[in-house]
Subunit: 243 residues, 2 copies
């Protein structure tokens, strides 16, 4: 429809990168583009840590489920919700910082609008990216490694580099499964659309891995196991409140 939309539609998560570095000027351009995103009441509740130390990068590999790309990609970032500034400001003003789920949620949302804009900027410069949710596997260890202070909530990693692979497109849910007019659809409508999506997804998985796997099968296997059950305790230890 236009070059920007074409760029967004061309996005694939890239997991293999060449040795080409990401110049500082490109990192700054992406971060500035990230900062240009909307932020709730200008609170700007995020920060990003560019992890350049090779030993730290290597130590992050086992902490993210053995993802070699965390050490091998040209540039690796840890995207964080950040309410530390607000807490310092309250302290200096002699008032109590009122944490709540609202503050944590705003930090997660603000950080993600920031990160996605930065990602689009990186991709517009020819880089490939991959978000690393595996950063949440062992957050207490990541925290010690990066010496994060209170009020900083690491959310996910971000690998950036020149792509050394051209992944195929993973099919998304059909549009009518995510865009609704006025009302959420009935369970039967949802189920019928998921069955159609499963057929598309099986073909994709067969082409990618030789295994005909359903999306719905992947989902119930994923969501019937406890996932990262120390997450809330970790964030609470950094000052978050979910009440």
């Amino acid at each position: 429809m236009n070059p920007t939309i074409d760029l967004l539609l061309r996005h694939r998560s890239v997991r293999a990168f060449t040795d080409a570095p990401v110049p500082r000027a490109h990192i700054e351009a992406a971060v500035r583009a990230g900062q240009a995103a909307s932020t709730s009441s200008a609170v700007q509740a995020y920060c990003v840590i560019h992890v350049t130390d090779p030993a730290t990068r290597e130590a992050l590999v086992p902490l993210t489920g053995g993802q070699r790309k965390v050490a091998d990609c040209a540039a690796f970032f840890v995207v964080c919700g950040d309410v530390r500034r607000h807490r310092l400001i309250c302290e200096d003003a002699g008032v109590e910082y009122d944490a709540r789920l609202e503050a944590f949620l705003v930090a997660a949302v603000d950080a993600s609008l920031f990160a996605q804009n930065a990602v689009v900027a990186f991709e517009s410069l020819g880089y490939g990216i991959c978000y690393v949710g595996g950063l949440r596997n062992e957050l207490a260890d990541v925290d010690r490694l990066l010496e994060l202070p209170d009020g900083v909530y690491p959310l996910y990693g971000l690998c950036v580099g020149v792509p050394a692979e051209e992944p195929s497109e993973r099919p998304r849910l059909p549009l009518p499964s995510v865009l609704f007019e006025d009302r959420y659809p009935s369970d039967d409508t949802v189920r019928a659309e998921l069955a159609a999506y499963d057929a598309t997804y099986r073909d994709y998985m067969e082409a990618r891995s030789g295994k005909r796997r359903d999306w719905t099968g992947s989902m119930w296997r994923k969501f019937s196991r406890p996932a990262r059950d120390r997450l809330a305790a970790y964030y609470a230890s950094k000052g978050a409140d979910f009440g």
Copy 2:
């Protein structure tokens, strides 16, 4: 640096719109661009409700703090984290859905990567947008109005339309306040940067409203008051778990 980055940097939240409609083809293009964003393990934990009914739009104005633009903008959306599909799939597979903070956080992040891509697509088509965090003011009432089922977590609204104003740029934190190399800075470094930012911000606020207001002053006033303290109870009532 390139036309896409220029577009990202040109973003301003727009709060006044002309009567020009947003054609369905543009909405679909933006949603497809949103879906092309990364999603944690392909879970696609989001949906978006296009609110077209004029009475519903009008009813949302008092529920979002009296924001007329919610009724007046050309197109209004409610962006939601959505784990309902996953819950239905688990139910049909005869397994228990394991909610946790992880599942809620993934929904908030997935929805926000989706929304920001959709926003960039809308802006690339010449529209202006404004996120409406005020949607979280009275979520139980919004929920009843939209008849949202369990597993759907409304996060924020989104106004879209052809801009009828050209807002000036609200200055962001200086780059060294959000981009760090390897280590989070000391409190003294943070404080020094905030003082410099306050000077910039005061000039901006004076030009915009005639009042020289600090960013730090806005922040401690904001964060020393309880904010949306029924949020966690509302999301829990829809099936979210923060443990």
